[in-house]
């Protein structure tokens, strides 16, 4: 008997499959592309295949993320705020604050002692300071997403990217490149600007330790370091931060299945 969580985000889709004891049996990450329904189906199929599980063995499925309503085979939909909180607390039980930076949303979630969402704050409708922003900047700098963090650590000079809009920030980056500013300094500035965008969300909710970071952007060590400086303490980063939403959805699927019986 298995429980599935599918997180159809704006940029990537993740599926996590749990067994009856709540252990992760398999997971899969792919890009969402133009069709969230297809992305969900493919991700689900790939996770089943990699775990050697038949669809008939799946007991309950919860869909989350922007595309959650387009997953026809989901038994239930739950928002990513609830799922990220559930997943993060499961991985790091002492978590009180979650900072999630996804493809086009960033959010700070405060959880109560019993692990429930107590409060949360999300970015305004502009996607600057999210994964999409980082992708645009990586392209402008012609550098892989995975190299951004390590390279930024070598920065020796503080410069700033002041534009709030992704498009304006991109042209700012391009003009810095044109002036032969070292890439590591530009990256450092990009990471700082993302941290600056998160700061009001952190202030609105209030940071209580421990802090766990989730979402694809947590893979960027440069940004995690900036947030660590801002928070003034250790940040938990899961081994695979991108699947925390799907993990939370799968855990909720397991709870719901138990309730249903």
């Amino acid at each position: 008997m298995y429980f599935v969580g599918i997180d159809v985000g704006s940029l990537s889709t993740e599926t996590v499959i749990l067994d009856h004891a709540g252990a992760v049996v398999s997971y899969h990450i792919s890009s969402t592309g133009a069709n969230s329904r297809t992305a969900g189906e493919k991700s689900f199929a790939a996770a089943l295949a990699s775990g050697g599980i038949a669809q008939s063995e799946v007991n309950f499925t919860v869909a989350t993320g922007y595309g959650r309503v387009s997953i026809p085979f989901a038994d239930k939909t739950v928002t990513e705020i609830t799922c990220h909180a559930r997943g993060a607390v499961h991985l790091f039980p002492a978590t009180q604050t979650i900072i999630d930076v996804g493809g086009q949303d960033s959010k700070v979630i405060s959880v109560s002692q019993d692990g429930k969402v107590a409060d949360f704050s999300m970015n305004d409708k502009c996607a600057a300071g999210t994964g999409r922003f980082l992708e645009v900047m990586a392209r402008a700098l012609e550098i892989g997403l995975d190299r951004m963090g390590p390279l930024s650590m070598r920065s020796t000079r503080d410069i700033s990217i002041s534009s709030m809009c992704t498009v304006f920030a991109e042209s700012e980056v391009i003009s810095l490149v044109a002036r032969a500013t070292p890439k590591e300094d530009i990256l450092n500035a990009i990471h700082q600007s993302i941290c600056n965008r998160l700061a009001p969300l952190m202030d609105a909710v209030g940071i209580r330790m421990e802090v766990t970071m989730t979402g694809g952007v947590a893979k960027n060590t440069g940004i995690v370091e900036k947030i660590r400086e801002k928070v003034g303490g250790r940040i938990n980063v899961p081994e695979e931060p991108q699947i925390v939403g799907a993990l939370g959805a799968a855990l909720i699927a397991r709870d719901m299945s138990a309730h249903a019986q």
Binding site: I81, K116, V117, D119, F120, M122, D124, K125
Partner: protein, 414 residues
Amino acid sequence: MEKTGKSRKRLRAAKELNRVVTEYYVECGRAKAEGKPVGWMPPMNGAIEIFYAMDIQPVFPENWSPICAAFGLAERNFEVAEGMGYSRDLCGYMRNIIGYVHGLMKEEGTPLGGLPEPDILLSPGGGCVPVIKIFQALERRFPNAKVYPADLPQVPTEEIRQHHVDYAIAEIHRLIDFLSQATGRKLDQDRLKEVVKLSDRSCELWDEIMTYRRRIPTPFSAAEIGIMFVMVTRQGTQTAVDFLTTVRDEVKEKSAQGLGVLEQEKIRLFWDNIPLWYNMGLFNHFEGMGGVVVAETYSSAWSLRLDVNRPIEALALKSLKSYPMVSCVSVDKRVEMVIKACKEYSIDGAILHRNKSCLPITLGQMDIKRALEAELGIPSIVIDADHMDSRNFSVEQFRTRVDAFMEMLLARKS
């Protein structure tokens, strides 16, 4: 959920409202055709009663904008205004009406017959800056209209003193003199008393109707807030009193029978700021999760009772208080109003619409958010949108935020 959509209404009076709205706009057009003077004015002041008392047809460009949004005409109007050079960052009411008077107004076949040209413009010197600028733009568009340059101090309601009232009274007298000269019509004091009495009665009925929303389950939700149409355009008329009486009777009956919007009302919500006029269906969205929008900023915006025995002074006070009450002339007062409403209506959570089109009313929201949490332990969520321009609204972002908020509230209650 769609980007634009009408709300699902449950009150029988909703049908009656359609008739009232149509009749009002037909009346505006007919007044023009029959040679009756037509005056355009901003809403929420004491001039409406003077106009009705002197049998001058009042027209409200600010009311026409939600109508345009509901009929899907706003985008066309925005295009015209933006084509003239008005920035997309300006107030949606402003871009809509300026676009309308320079575009659709010159064409045939507009829903409800469109607006008749003004003979008089009541050009305000107070309220928000966009409303002042709208009328200045209208003065240029309608050069033959006689312009009354209105003036009023903008004072937080709690700081209104006698000299403010005296000045506002003098301004009402100046308005009456201007209208007499412009139209040749005289103001009959008995008729004015009658109009003020009707206006006061509509406020009394409004308050009574709102009282029933305190019941659990609530008999109607923000999906029906269109009933305030009569408070904007018909204050001081029998039409308003009759319509509100119909609403009151229905709501009273529903309350007595314990009939609510939802049988199983789980979460009671407060909506702060102006609704999205192009998507009133959002108010129904919460119902799927057991949530009802029980009250909103406008619930208490029409509670200004008028002293029937001193009609001019009553209208002066109404003019002084109406705008500051719902905007943030006094942030303290606005916070106080929201806190009071959330207590009275037994609210579980507040949705704060951060309105790109209206900064004056959005201004105090962080104070509201903090006060709700600190004083009542009520959580709130900020959503970004725009009361007129659907291009500034993302359905998916809205859904993610409010659904997560509902999940949080439901988990808290369980």
